[in-house]
Symmetry: D2
Subunit: 136 residues, 4 copies
């Protein structure tokens, strides 16, 4: 499975270097992952009701080109690997500049586990997720 | 009562206008309020245990002069007014520039109520707080 | 003039009180203001080119009801008052809960000035903005 | 070289899962890196003057145990590897719980390059940094 999400770079995403802060990219990734998990049957409403939370256990992110104020960012999210208690999601963040050229801003991977709150007990990743893996 | 807190402006506090984002000031205010409430007997540990949370019901903030990357900010927090179910806290944010001149960056007021979680029921503000009011 | 913007409450917007952090509302307000200013001829692209930045000089925000993870928030932005060097924008933040009931989460006002960067010199607010004022 | 920095978990660092948001850890890492770079001769004041900015090109972060509201976090920063145009910094984030037990919350690595603004031209990492490498 693959989902796409779009975000516009806001003032609060940038820093005084004139470009998007390395931290802000993680908000774009989280928004895309939220949509991805909703498609997998774990929407925010589902989470509120079941109190089964996705927990990020690892993030890897490479910053390739700086994004700027007003850029429209296209975030693609993939389900890359599904294990018993962990799933690895891949993300690409791209923008199209005035000249029509596509620019890869960043690529990222996040490992997520499912946890039952408030006990904190790990939950199995649904078996059907493994049929939905894809790659960038 | 009056408490003082110090913060250094980080990259993530600034935006591409070259100065501190209007939103970031609220983090400085919250840090000072956390220290203030701890002195009033409502530390983060107390909150974790009692599940009585301070809830901000109103914020007013004036931005007087722009803060910049690396500025050391002195945040003073005052307990201005104490009612039955609400307290009003005042804040001044200042820095000292190289020339030794004191600059007021921002002044703010926040109204806070106390709420018992998870019921969300309002709680009385402790009566002894009213002896501790002061003004900027 | 009036514009509407929609946002979905993300994990990073909430805090351990179980509701949206008072600080996160300012991000929703800023997104709406960005759209509002684009309609007024001051889009993020325009800002990048002209280096005329809107600067928030005052924020007032009342928190009326707590927003929660997954809430769809409708932010309405109004241009309330236009002066020579300042404009006051009004905002209402609402959501519709399952029962179809409309809930006002927050109301806010921001005063903005226009500043030429990097000189920091104030700029006049365009005269035509005064024909576009409206109220909540 | 190794530096230590301390931070207290604030409300705005947590999310409705009851623990610190994965994104907030990057703020703690950035604060420690700022202190580390100041010790290496690249303080925020130096950056303001020289307009040579450290730019993060990659982050890897593992989340080992959840941090909670009020936790005192000790962030240790190491300079692990120094190349011609890149340096790799390592970070450990730990807290001590009531029972006196030390808990590793997170470990991270960031690759940073130095960039001359506003041209965006890469700069050589100072040769003397390579004498200061150490490991966790």
């Amino acid at each position: 499975m693959k989902i796409e999400h779009f975000a516009t770079v806001q003032f609060y995403d940038t820093d005084c270097g004139g470009v998007v802060s390395n931290i802000a990219y993680l908000r774009f990734v989280e928004e895309a992952r939220t949509i991805q998990f909703a498609e997998l049957g774990l929407s925010l409403d589902d989470i509120n009701k079941s109190q089964i939370f996705p927990v990020v256990t690892r993030t890897e992110i490479d910053y390739r080109a700086p994004a700027k104020l007003g850029d429209k960012i296209r975030i693609s999210a993939f389900l890359e690997t599904v294990g018993k208690v962990r799933a690895i999601c891949g993300f690409t963040l791209e923008t199209t500049r005035e000249e029509g050229k596509n620019i890869t801003l960043s690529v990222a991977k996040q490992t997520a586990a499912l946890v039952q709150m408030p006990s904190g007990k790990p939950r199995r990743v649904p078996a059907e997720w493994s049929k939905m893996t894809t790659s960038c």
